[in-house]
Symmetry: C2
Subunit: 151 residues, 2 copies
DNA sequence: AACATTCCCGAGCAAAACTGTCAATTAAAG
DNA sequence: CTTTAATTGACAGTTTTGCTCGGGAATGTT
């Protein structure tokens, strides 16, 4: 019942984007260094985030990625959907495969509800929520006001 | 974010055990046939369920498995724990690995809470709950009162 | 125009996890 | 002592995951 690193990385990267001062583009290289995530792997994730209209890209020197919408309007479930991880706990919930043999399986309803709970929870949390938490945590900590990063 | 077939099968099998009339042992072979699950694979699952004291085994002819406790006292989270699927959505939640690099990661808290929601939900549902649903569904359907099974 | 920076795209690949199979053994009932 | 059924451990096929690699295209700088 683990989320893949895709989902984990994508959410962290999105927070990273939002914490950038002034809303200038952030390059994948920067995120890669800051979050210790493989550069080329991140490229793949951002390609998907872009296709889902969660980020916008800016090419050329000084370019990078920017959130496509206000952070408050980007919830975690959308990010996870974007990098193609399913939130359904069983394949029968998505009608990909028949549940069991013929009859609707006894447990079908449970997995359906579990999936709903998971999605509801993730949909209730936005990138802004996470960013706010991050900033609060930093207050009182050693904080480099230049980069907005822990030194 | 899928549950493994281990978890799915184990829950179905436990319901199967409970629906048996009179509480006589049910053989793995029977469950295998009824639920269309590989016999030898089921063996592995039941070995784990037994070690977790969720079922008791009865050897020899007429033997099989029985629930080790009343169905109302067996919740789904215990079953899934038993077959060794984690309910934590990220490895850092279980302290298996450090979250990110050094500092506690921004997203840590979210995955922690998500894990709690999932566990709470599954802990709130017992084998008895599922069995009751199954019986209600059968009522009005074609039902074989001998075996307690759909004909 | 040359160059550096950055996004963009597709193919490939090793390791791990998942989903089983197989063979041999032990225990109990009749 | 034969049959039924649990018990155990090793192993094998397939799929998914988590990347790497190699090249390209757009954009800004000098």
């Amino acid at each position: 019942m683990r989320l893949s690193t895709k989902a984990l990385y994508a959410v962290r990267a999105m927070v990273c984007l939002n914490l950038q001062k002034g809303g200038e583009p952030v390059s994948i290289r920067e995120i890669s260094a800051r979050e210790r995530i493989s550069l080329t792997y991140l490229e793949q994730l951002f390609a998907k985030l872009r296709r889902s209209d969660l980020v916008r890209s800016v090419r050329g020197p000084g370019g990078g990625y920017v959130l496509a919408r206000p952070a408050a309007e980007i919830a975690l479930d959308a990010i996870i959907d974007s990098v193609e991880e399913t939130l359904a706990p069983a394949s029968c919930v998505e009608q990909k495969e028949p549940c069991c043999h013929g009859e609707q399986c006894v447990t079908h309803q449970v997995w359906l509800e579990l999936g709903e709970r998971i999605r509801d929870f993730l949909a209730s949390i936005s990138i802004e929520d996470l960013s706010r938490d991050a900033l609060e945590r930093r207050r009182g900590d050693l904080l480099n006001p230049e980069t907005g990063e822990l030194s």
